[in-house]
Every structure is written in C-alpha cells, then in structure tokens.
Subunit: 211 residues, 2 copies
C-alpha cells in the first residue's frame, strides 16, 4: 500500500484526506508530479497548473486535496522524508552489526538519490519555503540514527556514547556525512554506491587514526 | 588588510574593483550590509536599497562596485566562503596531529557560526541563486580537507587513504559532519563548541568500533 500518512495525518491539507483507494492514488499522482515540478523548476517558478498538467488531473482535483502551492510543497517535503526512510529501512535488517547497518543505510540512500535526484532540491529549498518541514526532516532522521547507534552500543557492537551530547553529536555527524556524500556522488556526479559506502564504513568503524 | 579578493579577482563586478583603500572599505561595508540583508530576508525579499541603507552609502555607490542584486549576492557567497576559511586557518597551526587539527577546525567553525549565523542561509540559498558559487564553496572546502588529511597521512598521523576515492570520501564526510554540527549547535541552538568538537574528535580518531 502507498504510504500517504506521516506523523498521524494525511499528506492532504486539513479536512481534505482522501477517503477511497482511488482518492489515495490521485493524491499520490499529484505528489509525484509535484516532486518533478518543484524539483525541476524550484518553488517560485512552479505552479499548481504545472503540477496538475504533469499529473494529468483537473485543476479542481488539486483543490480536492490541497489548499495552495505552499500546502502541496509542505506535503511533498514530508512525503520525501518518509520515502527516504522507507527506502533505507529494509537495507538495515541484513547487517551483521550496528556499524555495517550505517554503511548499508548510506548505500541504500545513495541508490535512492540516484533515482530521485530532486530530493536534494526539495529538502534544501524547504529551509526557505517550509522551515518547520526542514527542521522536522533532519531532527527525526538524527533521532533515528542516534537510536540505532545507542541500541548497537547496548548490544556491545559500538562504543557507548559518553553522555547524551556525544550520542547526538555522533548521529548528526553520520547524517551530515550521508547528506554530503549523497550530494557529491548521487547528485553532482556518479560513483558506485557500494564503493562510497565501503570507504565511509572504514572511516565510521576505525576512524582516521593510523592502524 | 581586509580580504576582498578570491580566486584572482575582486569581490566587485567585472571592471568595478576598488582602486583605493577607501574604496575597499566601502566595498567591505556593502558586503557586510548584504550579509545582514540577505541573511535576514532571503534573496527574493532583499533589495539593493535595503543593502545601501544598512551600509549607509548612496545608491550610486552600490553601482560603483556591483551591477545587480545577483552580482552582490554572488560576491557575498565568495566572501563568506573566504571568511570561513580565514577564520578557521589559524586554529590549525597549534594542533599536535592531523586529527586534532580537524577537531580545532570544527571548534573554530562553530565559533564562526555563532557570530555569523547568516552564513548558513546565504550558502544554502546559493544552491538556488548562485549554483556555481555553491558548488565552488563545497568543492574547494573538500579539496582543502582532503589535502590536510593526505598530508597528515604522509606524516604518519592518519591512516593513509586506500585510493583517491577514499581520500575524497573522507574529506566530504568530515565536511558534511562539520556543516551539520554547525547547523545543530550553532544555528538551531547553542552548545559549547569545545564539547561538540571533543565528541566529534573521538568519532574521527577512533570511529564507532568498541574499544
């Protein structure tokens, strides 16, 4: 089933959640079209008509689900954030330890970016168009990474954090690493995700100290 | 002396470089005002008049140095990039090894962000307003970090990179870590730079593997 809910609400504007499977498919089409429209043209140059013509739906159908261009952008930020998480999650289960899990997550993220390069432009533009969505995306991502690392530390696979600050710093460091490696090797130019992830894994596992 | 040159050219538009020390001071005033204007209001809502009134210079004076709002924004991106580098550079010299140097660089960067929170909004908005400046900022920063780490490896302080890709991956990972820790602990909320840098240094030195 398509995932159109996040944080307890529909992607649609308040009171406009689809009530049928067909409605959910239409909402999905609008969000996919919005991803291409905003990703290609940026927020300022995008239009609702541009989205509905890409989605091949009537203008009135747009207003069945959203109140404005800002609303569909906010929904898209939440949707992209959810889709990154859902794309990466299955990759974690096969990892032999918490550090390999982070490497699998990075490799999976790089593959996602290859297919959906627009994710960068959309999340990055959210800093200006939807600051709350921008904040929530990174805060929830960092919280998830910190929980994974803390659980791996509890299993004895990862050095325990000395204090809550170190736990948070490690999560933000890993997230920043992933975001910039995705920019460099997924958006700007291509490099095999497994090679990038392997090099990052060596850094994550053993650090920079001479062995 | 104020640094208003970068990559072999003045911050001013082509053919508009200041010829006197007084002219350089005026150019500096305009760039400082542009930092506050663009940093507070964003590119779209900023205006040349907003910049000249903050700088307390006549509108005609602006056009002595710049051709347009886009031009002063591009100059500002390059200026902020140069200022980050110049702020961080002195912190490197006291470090006992290449890994401590990266920790000093992060601590110094966090202190810079505390004083100049606008640096994030300006560099981030450059992705949309001045993509070349955005690219150049991160590419030159990563190249600088890679050169530092490779030199430290040559001195036997850091594990040598297995290949050119690993050298580049490490540099982008360190840069991404710094950018996101600056966002979290310099822009969103405050934490003592030395505590954040110390936690990051433990990660950089020894990685996540249980010791």
């Amino acid at each position: 089933m398509l995932r159109l809910e996040s944080g307890g609400g529909s992607a649609a504007s308040d009171g406009k959640a689809p009530r049928t499977a067909r409605g959910e498919r239409t909402l999905r089409k609008i969000l996919d079209a919005a991803r291409v429209e905003f990703g290609d043209k940026g927020f300022a140059d995008s239009s609702i008509v541009g989205i509905t013509s890409r989605a091949k739906v009537a203008l009135g159908t747009f207003y069945t689900y959203f109140d404005s261009k800002e609303d569909v952008f906010r929904a898209l930020v939440r949707d992209m954030s959810d889709r990154v998480r859902e794309h990466v999650a299955p990759s974690l289960s096969g990892a032999s330890d918490g550090i390999e899990a982070e490497s699998c997550a990075l490799e999976s993220f790089l593959r996602f970016v290859e297919q959906q390069k627009q994710v960068y432009r959309i999340i990055d533009e959210a800093e200006f168009v939807d600051p709350q969505g921008f904040h929530d995306h990174y805060q929830t991502t960092a919280t998830r990474i910190a929980a994974r690392l803390d659980a791996a530390a509890a299993r004895g696979e990862v050095q325990p954090a000395a204090d809550p600050l170190e736990s948070e710093v490690r999560a933000w460091a890993v997230m920043g690493m992933n975001v910039f490696l995705g920019l460099r090797y997924g958006v700007w130019s291509h490099e095999e995700p497994e090679k990038v992830a392997a090099a990052a894994a060596r850094l994550l596992r053993g650090g920079l100290a001479k062995r």
